[in-house]
């Protein structure tokens, strides 16, 4: 594990405020999701998940086809498409566009893709101030932090911290009432909205056959961003495309419920091109920035391709026992939680933070709640195996994730034992006798010797009273 990764984890674990926020709000999002997908409220849930998975799979398997249709349709509606191979190309396109149009101020609605390409910092170099307008994003931007959670960027901050931050950065009086804090942000951002000449949004979906960008939100800041300024730029990864508007009947129902337990979020915008002749308002120009940035490489791997199905609902973060302890800032890269643990190594290269795929207990909760049925644990295991293979190819020492010497020996002994049934059984009986009696409700609180490392943070399940082999023999005897 890199020292920086370890350091971030330790500071998150030591931060009482972050721990309380995680327990309270990730837990709340988790419960709200669960009660919104119950059999009674949402009987078609499993069927819709299967359909969503099918549509994503079909679209990814024919991605070039749908991107070409999308591109043609956007242009038919008077928009322009900028294909960008990487973050640098996307930054340069948007920066130069802003410079050519004389844009000094751009308003932004929440977009993880724009975080991924570091757009705000890049625009500063072009002399453009980019202001985040989602309340949570506005807070983390003022604090010069990054989003702590995919759908709740400021989940880690409490009202006192927000009060201090608003007071320090905006010169207003300390205000600890949350509705009043929201009103302060509304006032500041309203001015920016009316002044900005460019609005930058992300996209939850790109509808190929309509040439449309679909944006899902609750605050109305995305509607403002995409409708008030003269120029609208939407930034989206190439994997966001779906074939038809009709497919939204499936995805919108899953996205709102999985993210916040809402059957439908307050606003869903379906936008195709700029304002048309005669339309009362809307932008004069529309640009779609289509970003690859490593996605086409992920596509090449048949098994891990499903990583690209993700609709960024954040449900896997809320249920993850690891995310719920270490929080969003421990993860390297833009995307945190289980989806980040499989996406970041594939976008940034597996050796970027080699320990990342190991930061999981493989409990499977993420796969269970994923609305598009991404098998995250399976991909984590594959990434681990790839990393080990890459390590073996390296002549010297690997990437710092070298398994401890005794761990390797333990696995070698285990493998040797597993191939010798009699000895294995004998070892099992021996363990029964040798395991410590220091038990709490049956669980073993501490193991001897080097095994202590395991029980330092976890309990160990006690051995069963009868081994599987014993039960099997009894069954056979009874039947005979």
């Amino acid at each position: 594990m890199s020292a920086a990764f370890r350091q971030r984890i330790h500071s998150a674990l030591a931060d009482q405020q972050v721990q309380e926020a995680l327990a309270a709000f990730a837990g709340r999002l988790m419960r709200e999701r669960r009660s919104s997908v119950g059999q009674e409220e949402f009987p078609e849930y499993q069927e819709l998940r299967a359909q969503a998975n099918l549509i994503k799979r079909h679209t990814m398997e024919n991605l070039d086809h749908y991107l070409e249709i999308l591109c043609r349709k956007v242009e038919e509606h008077g928009g322009q498409v900028a294909w960008c191979r990487d973050a640098g190309e996307a930054q340069a396109f948007i920066g130069q566009l802003a410079r050519e149009r004389g844009v000094r101020l751009a308003v932004k609605s929440k977009s993880m893709t724009s975080e991924e390409i570091g757009l705000n910092e890049a625009l500063e170099h072009y002399g453009v101030e980019a202001t985040e307008t989602d309340f949570g994003e506005f807070i983390v931007q003022l604090a010069r932090e990054r989003p702590f959670h995919i759908v709740a960027p400021a989940l880690h901050k409490n009202r006192r911290q927000v009060a201090a931050l608003l007071s320090e950065k905006l010169g207003v009086a300390q205000e600890e009432e949350i509705p009043k804090q929201t009103a302060i942000a509304r006032g500041v951002l309203r001015k920016k909205f009316l002044e900005a000449r460019m609005g930058i949004s992300g996209a939850n979906f790109l509808v190929a056959e309509s040439g449309a960008v679909v944006i899902v939100e609750n605050e109305g800041n995305a509607r403002f961003t995409t409708s008030a300024p003269r120029i609208h730029v939407a930034v989206a990864g190439i994997e966001k495309v779906i074939p038809r508007a009709a497919d939204l009947a499936v995805f919108l129902k899953l996205l709102g419920r999985s993210a916040t337990g809402q059957p439908l979020t307050s606003y869903t915008s379906f936008l195709a091109g700029p304002r048309r002749p005669g339309e009362m308002d809307g932008p004069d120009e529309f640009f779609l920035v289509l970003l690859d940035n490593g996605r086409s490489r992920i596509l090449a791997d048949r098994d891990k391709r499903q990583t690209l199905y993700c609709i960024r609902c954040g449900a896997c973060l809320n249920v993850c026992p690891v995310y719920r302890k270490i929080g969003g800032y421990s993860y390297p890269g833009t995307y945190s939680g289980p989806i980040g643990a499989i996406l970041t190594p594939q976008l940034s290269g597996i050796t970027y933070e080699p320990e990342l795929p190991f930061a999981s207990s493989l409990c499977g909760a993420c796969a269970e709640v994923c609305p598009v049925k991404i098998d995250i644990p399976k991909i984590l295991v594959e990434l681990r195996s790839e990393l080990r293979k890459a390590e073996r190819r390296e002549s010297r020492g690997g990437f710092g994730v070298q398994a401890a010497g005794w761990e390797r020996i333990a696995f070698a002994v285990w493998a040797w034992l597993m191939r010798r049934p009699r000895l294995f059984e004998l070892a099992g009986s021996a363990a029964q006798v040798l395991l410590p009696a220091d038990r709490d409700g049956g669980w073993i609180r501490s193991l001897p010797g080097p095994l202590q490392a395991w029980t330092r943070w976890r309990d160990f399940p006690p051995p069963a009273a009868h081994s599987f082999r014993q039960l099997w023999r009894q069954q056979r005897r009874r039947r005979d």
Partner: protein, 209 residues
Amino acid sequence: MPAREHILHKIRTALGRNAGQPPAPAPPPRLAFAPASPAELIRQAIDRFPGKAVRADSDQEARDYVASQINGSRAIASPAPLLDRLGILTLPGVAIAAGGPDQVQRACAESDIGITTAEYVLADTGALVTLAGVRESRLVSLLPPVHIAVAPADRILTGLEELFTLLPDPAALSSSLVLIAGPSRTADVEGVLTLGVHGPRELHLVLVQ
């Protein structure tokens, strides 16, 4: 190689596809819905609407309801034929959105109430379906702190399935279709729900016969 060709080439190589190769058939869209009687649709829409929904049995009733909400404040209305027919555009305190986008925006920013039509209402969620156009604005339903939508009672659909059956491609009609399923809201700090962040905190729906 230009970026577009380069990216498409990488995708095709990754997938083992050739340029122009037709895709496998797409999974059929899932659009089945159970029809409901008009009375049932009205009942559900009013029940589930995320604000105050009223049924007006006459044009007069609709106009009176809107007038009672305006009650001395400044309102801005889209110049929609339905609002015109109902006499809402000539109510005291109502300005009609007009001119270019900048003028519409300025007028909206100074108004307390925005009045628009809704193209449809979805019975399952109570969501409004709004379409921007020559006589319908994007900003009137967004900038003022109160939004009043007016819709004919026979424009209630069961849900998204029926909507996309009727409008398989909303982009053919407008640059902007917006589903409004609640007031502007945030729960970004401590999960505390606050209404009226950037858009309206209050929603009204008037269903007219």
